[in-house]
């Protein structure tokens, strides 16, 4: 139970760090070589991470919890 819980917290932290790095890259791209396509792609990557890991879209067809 504890190892499962720790693994879940680790996943949350990893996803949050990835999102933070992508936001930093987004800001860097915008101030150094503004490209609408790259910015929208970065936004899309962030959205996929949020929908998949934080919003648990894979649970949509399941009738039980996430553990």
């Amino acid at each position: 139970m504890n190892s499962k819980r720790s693994a879940a917290y680790r996943t949350s932290t990893t996803v949050a760090l990835v999102l933070a790095v992508l936001t930093g890259i987004e800001y860097f791209v915008a101030i150094s070589f503004p490209s609408t396509v790259i910015l929208l792609l970065l936004g899309l990557f962030k959205a996929v991470a949020v929908v998949n890991y934080f919003m648990h879209i894979s649970r949509l067809w399941r009738s039980e919890g996430g553990h």
């Binding site: 879940a8 996803v15 915008a30 101030i31 910015l39 949020v50 934080f54 648990h56 919890g65």
Partner: protein, 229 residues
């Protein structure tokens, strides 16, 4: 006497069997309800996507390749605050899923505080509603709108206020949702097995973050900056 002693376990077994069947039925009902609830929530998000998608389309249609001069530091800070709030909300939900009520409580409280920080960031710095604290650059209407390269006035203020206003409205409803869930959790309403209230609150909050993931570049990062008059 022997009848009683033999009948009693039988009755107990029958009662237990009935209880187990009832429990199983209840579990099955909860499972079906959970699946339907999840589908309902995602259908709601789909309907909301049309609203926010419409606002995004408005921004690109009316502004084209331009954007107003906005405070980049404010934009980055409120974005990071919302991102961290999504993380703390996920920790709260994961805590409840694994019976860690301490993490659930801390996560919800931190999310609520960060949500408030985001909201005040928008009200004070993006909208400039308190000039004594911060001089805002944009107004929703009026003659002081910036001009683009062709000397045309574009509705910068109206679009910024419509997009951030609609998003802020969802942040406020998310904060109310968090407060209700925290109070219910405090009274012991949720368990690791049954916590749809917590899950839906978390997913709703992440949806608010998801919308901002697209609004942030659209308002702050994409397009050529148009100065003030």
């Amino acid at each position: 006497m022997s009848v009683v002693t033999t009948a009693a376990p039988a009755a107990h077994t029958a009662h237990a069997a009935h209880g187990n069947a009832h429990h199983a039925d209840h579990g099955e009902d909860y499972g079906v309800a959970l699946r339907n609830n999840r589908m309902g929530l995602w259908l709601f998000f789909l309907s909301e996507a049309f609203l926010f998608g419409g606002l995004l389309a408005t921004r690109f249609y009316l502004w084209g390749p331009y954007r107003p001069e906005v405070d980049q530091t404010v934009g980055l800070i409120v974005t990071v605050v919302l991102l961290i709030s999504s993380f703390s909300m996920n920790l709260a939900e994961t805590g409840m899923e694994h019976g860690d009520r301490r993490m659930f409580n801390i996560g919800l409280i931190v999310t609520f505080i960060l949500g408030l920080v985001f909201l005040f960031g928008v009200i004070i710095f993006e909208w400039g509603l308190f000039p004594a604290l911060y001089e805002g650059h944009l107004t929703p209407w009026g003659d002081n709108q910036p001009l683009n390269a062709e000397g045309l006035t574009l509705p910068f203020g109206a679009v910024v206020f419509a997009m951030t206003g609609m998003h802020a409205l969802h942040v406020i409803s998310g904060l109310v949702f968090i407060a209700i869930v925290w109070n219910m959790g405090r009274k012991g309403h949720f368990s690791p097995e049954q916590h749809w209230g917590v899950e839906s609150c978390a997913i709703y909050w992440h949806y608010v973050d998801l919308v901002w993931i697209f609004f942030y570049p659209a308002l702050y990062l994409i397009g050529e900056v148009v100065g003030h008059r």
